[in-house]
């Protein structure tokens, strides 16, 4: 039950930070909002085909304190991986499980002591709602068939990155993050199993992003 409300609780905590936003918030030359797109290379990249195994992420952030910002984040992806059975090919042809979907959430970034948001090194905590579809091969009965379904779960994500600004306008961002679903792994259902697998794929997810300062 707690899991269901964790998103709400964290959202409240983060919002309270936002409500406290005050005093000296210089942002970058007075600009506090920016949007950026991040190109993510998840750990699954090494397990699946490398040509299209990427995640995409769009962030809208607003600097609320001297060393902190809050934001909305949207992920979308279509990932491929070696099937859960561990079998990589059938009749010499490579096969992959796939999962496609996305996530919506809020994030909170703390900048290091030597930095002023939104420039410098930051630590990120985000709460996301993940949703999507999956496909997997199952050889459990000796004959192959496809298992598929939907999932809809909450996840926590932790990250670290470095953000810089060029030409007073362009935001550049590099970093890495990992995530997990609170409450542990699969509870036995396929949906949770796959959702957990997706969240786990955030581990060593590395990203490079560009964006623009808005206002």
């Amino acid at each position: 039950m707690f899991r269901k409300y964790i998103f709400l609780i964290l959202f409240c905590i983060l919002s309270s930070f936002a409500a406290q936003s005050q005093k000296n918030v210089p942002g970058y030359l007075g600009k506090k909002a920016f949007v950026d797109y991040n190109f993510n290379a998840p750990f699954l990249l090494y397990l699946g085909p490398k040509w299209n195994n990427f995640m995409h992420n769009v962030n809208f952030n607003y600097v609320i304190r001297r060393r902190a910002q809050i934001g909305l984040t949207v992920d979308f992806f279509n990932l491929h991986a070696i099937p859960s059975t561990g079998i990589e090919s059938i009749n010499g042809e490579k096969i992959y499980s796939s999962v496609s979907g996305g996530g919506v959430g809020v994030n909170f970034d703390w900048y290091s002591k030597k930095s002023i948001a939104p420039v410098g090194n930051y630590f990120r905590l985000s709460v996301k709602k993940l949703f999507g579809q999956f496909e997997d091969y199952d050889y459990g009965n000796g004959t192959s068939f496809i298992v598929d379904g939907d999932y809809d779960e909450f996840a926590l994500e932790f990250g670290y990155g470095i953000r810089r600004i060029f030409f007073d306008q362009m935001v550049f961002n590099v970093g890495g993050s990992f995530g997990f679903i609170p409450g542990g792994g699969s509870d036995g259902t396929d949906e949770r199993g796959y959702a957990y697998a997706v969240a786990s794929s955030y581990i060593w997810r590395l990203h490079v992003g560009v964006g623009v300062l808005l206002f």
Binding site: N24, Y28, I116, V119, I162, R164, F166, D168, V174
Partner: protein, 725 residues
């Protein structure tokens, strides 16, 4: 007619009561001050001897770089004056000397520096700088002419360049033969070369001097001035009775009976000096002079009255420099000796009051040891001043300063800064010597105040006699203050105004605490500030780029970065709608002479404030002029900011570590050079000198544009931001 007569009397009366007229730069700022050092350097590169060896060419370039930037640092410090009466006079004398050398004349520029030391020097670029201390000590125009001739010869022979090249060569040989030659010998070799240059400058200077009509005796006189350069302006008898009256009387043993005489001996050993010894220089000069006739030669070619007027002004000016440098013994004694000449001059009294104030503040804050002189190491009458000041107890010093300043209260009733100084002395007396202050009595000091000390028993005196003597001495010490200093404020303690001031000072601690807790305190949480200013004066923003591992300043890069930094600050101020008046010596145009003079005042004032500590606050000695500038620029906060940045050397362990543990940080390290930057800012209240904002941000990167821009924006936004009530 009567009106004119009255006006004339008033005018002369004013002259009589205040002889001080400060020097300032005038007219257009010369190119030496406004041209970028890099441009000067580029131009001077044309003078590199192309035929010389590669190493020599490299050294020559290095010299041009360092000397141009070095001299510009001095010129832009605000302490060097141009077109002022002294510089103009010095130029005229130089023109007399160079009458037959128009080409050389065209290459030289003469300026004066606000320094009390007795010196003059010439640069390789043709800038000759004369210290105000030299003008104050010289006896006549001819002596100044000889010194100028000497400096001109240094320039003519390009001594600075030659010395640099020779030093480099000596260093190079030394580094190759490190086992055979010691560092000390290396220095001696350089000194020897320097001495040869000095002798050559004396000789060539004399040749130039002999072509003029100046008196040859001046050469000897000039050497005398150099010999006694360490002495005060005059040697006038000092007695503690100067500070005494019927209320304040000091113990007899505060007076030093025997002083060290002024030494006439000169150390002939010049092995470790860069200059030949004075006897050697005198002999060499005598040998040349002897062959020439002194007939028809004069002490003054330009003007005797002008020299005397400038000398008088220089001596007054010197007092200001000595206060600025916290040389209070000298300022006190020099003002005292000038009083013999101008007894009614109020300005001299003010200098003495300020000197006593300086002593008091330093001693009360235990900051005196660095500036303390020892009377045994002095020569002449100044020894008595040193002894007297050192003998005074702290509270006596405070009482004396308070008495002296308070007695001038009416004379300076419109001088806000002087009145503040009195209050400050009173506060110190109340807060730091409260127990002693309670013992101060009304009424005059007893007549017996100066009863002689008990006679010291002979060596063969009995124990009883020695004991008796010691008891007497102890008794006298115990009663001493009662009989002496405790009547020092006797007359003032009967005045309501003085007592009200003392009562007011008693509350100051409480008031200070209240103020710190009040909304006027600009500090907000986490060391962030909100000054709520719409207009400030930004002084001398600096940007220093250092080489790898921060060993040396990258001069050319620094200058270029400095220009961009100034633009960035101005843009950020515009973004914030903050009115920013920038006084930046690097960006003066020829018409900015007023700003140039103002810069010197503010620079000096900032220097003073930077020396202050929590427990040691002293009103700046040029606060009066700063108050005028506050009104002129309509600001009440002065801001100083700057960046210091440098690259770090490669650290392979660091790179490998990051490669293993943090892939993206490693990537970042590869694409962004490592370094460190410090962004500094200080905002001071222009009336009180109180720090309203101060930050010293360390950033573990080199000076990325976005970071520097963001930081300067942050500083200015804190200046602009109003505190939420």
């Amino acid at each position: 007619m009567k009106i004119y007569l009255t006006l004339a009397i008033l005018f002369f009366a004013q002259l009589l009561f205040c002889q001080y007229e400060p020097f300032d730069s005038k007219g257009d700022i010369p190119k030496d001050f406004t041209t970028y050092s890099y441009q000067k350097y580029k131009k001077e590169l044309e003078n590199v001897d192309r035929k010389s060896k590669r190493r020599s060419r490299k050294n020559q370039k290095e010299f041009f770089l360092e000397s141009n930037f070095g001299i510009d640092d001095l010129l832009q410090s605000g302490y060097v004056m141009f077109n002022d009466p002294v510089s103009e006079y010095v130029t005229e004398i130089a023109n007399v000397l160079l009458e037959n050398e128009p080409e050389l004349k065209g290459k030289l520029r003469f300026y004066t520096v606000r320094s009390s030391s007795v010196n003059a020097f010439a640069t390789n670029q043709g800038v000759v700088i004369v210290n105000m201390g030299l003008i104050a000590q010289l006896k006549n125009e001819a002596q100044l002419a000889f010194i100028l001739a000497h400096e001109i010869s240094h320039f003519k022979e390009q001594h600075a360049l030659k010395f640099y090249l020779e030093s480099k060569e000596i260093d190079r040989q030394n580094s190759r033969n490190i086992l055979r030659r010691k560092k000390f010998e290396n220095t001696l070799t350089k000194n020897q070369f320097s001495k040869e240059q000095e002798s050559e400058a004396d000789e060539l200077g004399l040749e130039l001097f002999l072509k003029s009509k100046y008196n040859l005796d001046a050469v000897k006189g000039a050497f005398d001035v150099l010999q006694y350069a360490y002495l005060p302006l005059a040697d006038v008898t000092f007695n503690k009775s100067y500070f005494e009256d019927e209320y304040l009387v000091f113990k007899e043993d505060y007076h030093l009976n025997t002083i060290n005489p002024i030494s006439t001996e000169v150390d002939e050993d010049d092995e470790e000096s860069t200059h030949p010894s004075l006897p050697k220089r005198r002999i060499a000069a005598d040998n040349i002079i002897r062959k020439n006739s002194n007939e028809g030669r004069v002490d003054y070619v330009i003007s005797e009255s002008r020299f005397k007027e400038l000398k008088k002004r220089a001596r007054y000016e010197l007092l200001e420099y000595q206060l600025r440098d916290y040389a209070f013994y000298e300022s006190l004694y020099n003002a005292y000796s000038l009083q013999k000449e101008f007894p009614e001059d109020l300005h001299l009294k003010k200098i003495i009051a300020k000197s006593l104030y300086g002593f008091t503040k330093m001693r009360n804050a235990r900051q005196f040891s660095d500036y303390r002189l020892k009377h045994k190491k002095t020569e002449g009458e100044i020894g008595r001043v040193v002894y007297f000041i050192n003998e005074l107890e702290k509270f006596e010093m405070n009482a004396l300063a308070l008495r002296y300043a308070y007695s001038l209260k009416e004379e300076f009733k419109d001088d806000v800064v002087f009145q503040d100084m009195i209050k400050d002395l009173c506060q110190d007396m109340v807060n730091k010597h409260s127990k002693k202050l309670k013992k101060f009595k009304t009424g005059k000091a007893p007549n017996s105040a100066n009863s002689p000390l008990p006679e010291k028993p002979d060596e063969d005196a009995s124990d009883e006699e020695v004991k008796k003597y010691e008891e007497l001495l102890k008794k006298q010490k115990e009663e001493g203050y009662n009989r002496y200093t405790f009547h020092g404020l006797g007359d003032f303690l009967e005045q309501d105004h003085f007592n009200a001031m003392v009562d007011d000072c008693k509350d100051i601690k409480e008031k200070k605490r209240e103020w710190e807790e009040s909304d006027d305190n600009n500090t907000i949480k986490n060391g962030e500030f909100a000054l709520g200013e719409n207009k400030v004066l930004l002084i001398n923003p600096f940007y220093v780029k250092l080489n790898r591992n921060f060993q040396k300043q990258l001069l050319i890069k620094t200058e270029k970065a400095q220009m961009k930094f100034n633009e960035s600050i101005q843009k950020n101020a515009d973004r914030l709608d903050l009115k920013l008046t920038v006084i930046d010596p690097n960006n003066f145009t020829k018409k900015d002479v007023e700003e140039f003079n103002d810069f010197k005042e503010i620079q000096e004032w900032f220097g003073h404030q930077m020396n202050m500590e929590d427990d040691f606050k002293m009103i700046a000695f040029n606060q009066e002029r700063i108050n005028a500038l506050t009104k002129k620029y309509n600001v009440d906060t002065f801001v100083w900011t700057g960046v210091m940045t440098g690259k770090k050397g490669k650290n392979s362990f660091d790179v490998i570590g990051k490669l293993i543990f943090n892939q993206f940080s490693w990537l970042y390290t590869m694409i962004t050079p490592k370094g460190e930057s410090i962004i500094f800012s200080l905002a001071l209240d222009s009336e009180t000198g109180r720090a309203r904002m101060g930050s010293f941000d360390y950033v573990p990167y080199i000076d990325h544009k976005d970071i520097i821009k963001q930081r300067t924006y942050d500083i200015l936004s804190q200046v602009k931001k109003k505190r939420k009530r």
